[in-house]
Symmetry: D2
Subunit: 394 residues, 4 copies
């Protein structure tokens, strides 16, 4: 069983999640496609990097991400930094022949994302963008039903991603509210997960029509480098800075296959936590998923007997995708960690078996094109056709 | 206690609902503002009208609706016919000085609706359009919270109305699928209820941007005059006719007060029955309602303590709007009947107290303007501003 | 279509519900088995009776219930008085040859109930006890599944009835808290509905083992005769009286067919409104019902494919029991009123067709035997076998 | 930061869960109370143990559990074997001065459990029994509310644990169905978790009254040592063996503080997966928890305003117990893994800080006493008082 040396660049909340997945993956999926070894962790200072190594179980640490690019023993580079550094790191890693897993969104915009996609293609390395939510077993089960034709031709997709961690206007101005770092707001941060669902489950999007809103125009400036996801609040007298990204967007969609849809994402929905949902209507049935109750997929089959038709709550477990590797009884329960463990499993498998994994940098790039189109549509107040804006792929 | 002689024109499913409300209203709301007396029922033939009188408890019957217009003893005309006859009947009733309650949508389009609104204004009669769902106690409670400022300034409204009774392509071509009778499809039939919610709870809509879809382009021609709401299916060899209205629409909204929103309605959502929902995000809280669980309103208050914040499921009962008149314990349960009983109560109160009731023909007309704009937007692929299309009111 | 003259004795909340059902039944179930005519209403004073006649639509009124027993034109006597008068009225009505519908519980104890059951048998009249909840379409659907063998042999029944209308210790001492009027507390008032479910769905109970609790030993004495179901509170200085019935009981059950079970009922469950539930486990499936979401039946079939097994939420409508008579689309919604309308429909049908209706006075008597046994078990701390305590029936 | 060498005895599904918690705990709770080091894993054969070491990340392995007892470098012994070996291993480990964490139930019966409790007390080591579900943040939040008096004096506790993994009669006869290995059936395996909840949240139980049932009297004999939790089925021609434990039990409870309650657990509830619930009614509020939706606690406060009272769905996150260490946003989601990570965190903290952790072997012993009493009550058909059966503790 081959060992893969991993270098993780970034050590915030997402670094925690990824480290857990490296440790836990072989425990779940056995025989594992390979054994990930936590070799080196990178953080912004030596002190932070040293602490991260101890906390997350890495052998080495450094404050200079180029160290791991140059280290020939590193097989996999894992990028869990803010969005503005994804491109530079990924392109360097690709040139150095590393396999790359990169947090979402792939980049701040389509132009950056295209360069990353070009780089990995050219280098011939494996690449993945970490839209982990599609690896929730219930979402993979929805995909299975659709592929088996069990809900028929898809007519409509409705997706939402609603949160409230920054609904409070005193929630600090982290990098997630700054266009130069994040690229966009709710769109890139959470909306991209829903766009990933739409492409994964329904197909390629052809046109978008959108509104965006920035409900909180300025926020207390954050001190310290940590990504404070709403758990810390600024004081009344904290100086404020400008929010130059969207807090919310809402979009109508047309798909290439004739389906229609809509997506809404906001961080100003009091009481919603990680309300990542989709509802899909097909000619032969319907599906509903809500990550807040992520073990469950709701499905209605049109051809059930009329006296016993209705949404079934399918509680995912051993009989469902990834189920044999996870827990032996449904409802022991899938958390965020498990989605990341599955992600790493599929990524290592793609390396070992030399296959493409999805979503990869091409998907990340396509999603960036859609994001750019959504922002353009909101600005111009008109439908934007993606076929005209996106670059061809071969 | 004044007795009001009612003439009901139409005797289908909606005639049943309205008749129950005339019989039941004083039982619930006592002392009643007046006692409705079921005087005359009108149906398309003498035989049907005679049977309707016996079934629904009317003293008289006729097959000619003009009889009741000309009958000076009639105080209230209740129009529960298909949409294409609303205008002619209502205008005649107004001229004859009758108070009018008319089923929704008020008319097939804004032009017709405007004439009806003009007629009742001119005649000085009381008028109401039967968007009964806003009288569900849980919806009225949402209105109360909003008016009291308990969820703050509204940012976003999302409404849906999902059904599946005609998702089967062999569901018959009733009048609801014919533009010349219905005016529009899912839009007028069910979407208007959501538009009514949006205006009631958030405020006037300023712009719309929409998609429409007709998923089932032809259906088995229906025989017989009854409005078969999906309970009867055509045979494979039944001749088919063209559906020239929408099965589904999806729209983005801008409100005059700066809020944004979206509405989706479809009759092709397998497993959804009367999935009439709204979710509203305000600066201080959120609301969620689903008619399929119509006794309940979900509300989250932002200023609840952080360790006990979350959506409350408020089960409506005696402590909520209309509650004292209804049932003495929450969850004895509100059905469709109760929404209609409340509707008649408010209508009679407006007559007795000589006040305006809402939604009235003006609201019905405004909603018709919005419907026309949605269809225009879907056709042209562009935002339609309502201030430019709608006629002024004073 | 035969007309049936109804005399209703009692005019409180239950009188409202029954009057609505007389008015509404033929509107729903057409052709109706008969037309109930609201002939005479009885209340405790002339004034109250007169007002009740106007409010509930009765032709006559009286303050003396014996008037209607002696009135040869009366076909049906409907008893909606407090429990302590059921026996006297019902026995007199039976002797006078009236058909009788009596509110639940049938009587304060088994001895009284036995006399009532003897009286109606002897008189040969039709008799029904108003356990209306089993006529909720979703409950009738559960019965249908069970009879069709779709969940197999039943192993376990768990029922609850949780309310909070008297959880506040200042909720007044209505007759429902007085043993001499009510017979028992939560047991007779709400627990009997669950016992009715258990017998209806599973079969005869053979043994019980119970605990009872009186959480609020004294309450403010109520002034006025109205049945104040928690909507009015006493003042701090209101004199208090003793509560000599149970606020809560919990019982283990053994059924004659080998199934086991439990029932719990309480009026001290803050946040529960009309939380009347059952869960049934069979060898081939499971059922779950909650009256708070009364349109829905949850069912899991063991033989569904492993990748799509789970509880189905069957939303009752035209395809389910009583559905054709009710509303043409699921989720227009069943309220308390509809359960009572169905009840009257089945009762009139039994009169016209000369068949037995269930639950009747025999069922009411058997339930009273079970209640007595539950109280005896709680007092003695031991299992009580019903076969030893109950009288034989033939 | 002190390193603790762990020896894990057993390497089945529970070994996976515990290993993940050793790896992940410091990633979540930082600074960690100590760093657990996966030193040695024990399984039944050398081959299995070797594979377990590789899979779960242990430095050494052995097929003889006495090796790790004798190894002076081992600080913590983790017992995740079937129930019949808990006592022997734990007593040996205690004598060797090891801290011990033992899977639940602590032993097959109270007598065994008492010896274990005596051994750890005598040895002065730290001890914990792995009732991990009480460490679900939503359950810990319920405890916090209760301790703060927010639901007042507790009146009633109702707990259930419903599963269906062995509802199929061809589910194999694993050790969990054999009295000599397991001690009892659903009672010890899952019912003990509910008993742990009852004691944790309400207080000590004083009397029990129970029924037990074995619905499937014989099952296909399992080949191989793995604990097949329902994922594998026997063939029709597989020889069968006797099930001599309960598939289901149902019990009434009395608590020392005057509260009453009931517990039901079964493995024959089709459609229920890990339906571990409690509902608690207090004088000032109610609580509801269901592990199938484990991120959520439902709470109703009696003193909320009457127009906005109802169950709140509190979605656990950073503002709730253990929240700061877990995930930065509610609904990223707690899975089974997180409950085990918290468990290890609290255990190591108790070692480092030399405090008692709960539930410990005393709790495990008390629960065993209750289990014995439940079985005795079911056999004798009478209430069993725990104060008479249990041994005194000091």
């Amino acid at each position: 069983m081959k060992k893969f040396n991993v270098a993780m660049i970034g050590a915030g909340f997402m670094g925690k999640a990824h480290s857990l997945s490296y440790a836990g993956m072989p425990m779940f999926f056995w025989p594992a496609p390979g054994i990930p070894y936590r070799k080196t962790v990178v953080d912004v200072t030596e002190e932070l990097a040293k602490e991260a190594a101890q906390r997350f179980g890495y052998e080495n640490y450094t404050a200079n991400w180029r160290d791991v690019i140059e280290d020939p023993s590193i097989d996999i580079v894992d990028i869990v930094t803010p969005n503005d550094s994804h491109a530079e790191i990924a392109i360097a890693a690709a040139k150095a022949g590393k396999h790359i897993i990169c947090e979402k969104p792939l980049a701040r915009n389509a132009e950056e994302a295209k360069k990353m996609w070009d780089a990995v293609r050219e280098a011939g390395v494996k690449h993945m963008v970490a839209f982990n939510y599609r690896r929730t077993p219930a979402v993979a089960l929805a995909k299975k039903y659709i592929e088996e034709g069990r809900i028929g031709k898809i007519l409509n997709f409705r997706g939402t991603y609603l949160q409230d961690w920054s609904a409070d206007p005193n929630s600090p101005l982290s990098w997630r509210f700054q266009k130069k770092v994040a690229g966009s707001g709710a769109l890139g941060d959470i909306g991209t997960h829903v766009i990933d669902f739409a492409r994964y489950l329904v197909g390629e999007i052809s046109e978008v029509m959108a509104i965006t809103k920035t409900w909180v125009p300025e926020r207390p400036i954050q001190t310290g480098g940590v990504d404070k996801l709403g758990t810390v609040k600024g004081q009344a007298d904290t100086p404020k800075g400008i929010v130059d990204v969207d807090d919310e967007f809402s979009t109508l969609l047309k798909f290439e296959n004739g389906a229609v849809g809509s997506i809404e994402a906001t961080r100003n929905a009091w009481g919603r936590n990680n309300f990542l949902t989709f509802e899909i209507h097909g000619e032969k049935g319907s599906l509903y998923f809500n990550y807040e109750r992520r073990d469950e997929l709701q499905v209605c089959f049109a051809d059930d007997p009329s006296d016993s038709k209705g949404f079934r709550t399918v509680y995912t477990g051993p009989a469902h995708p990834y189920g044999e590797g996870l827990w032996p009884i449904p409802a022991l329960g899938i958390g965020y960690g498990e989605t990341k463990i599955i992600e790493i499993y599929d990524f290592l498998k793609s390396i070992v078996e030399d296959t493409e994994v999805s979503p990869n940098f091409y998907d990340g790039y396509r999603i960036a094109v859609i994001c750019d189109a959504i922002l353009e549509s909101a600005e111009k107040g008109m439908w934007i056709s993606l076929n005209e804006t996106s670059l061809s792929v071969n």
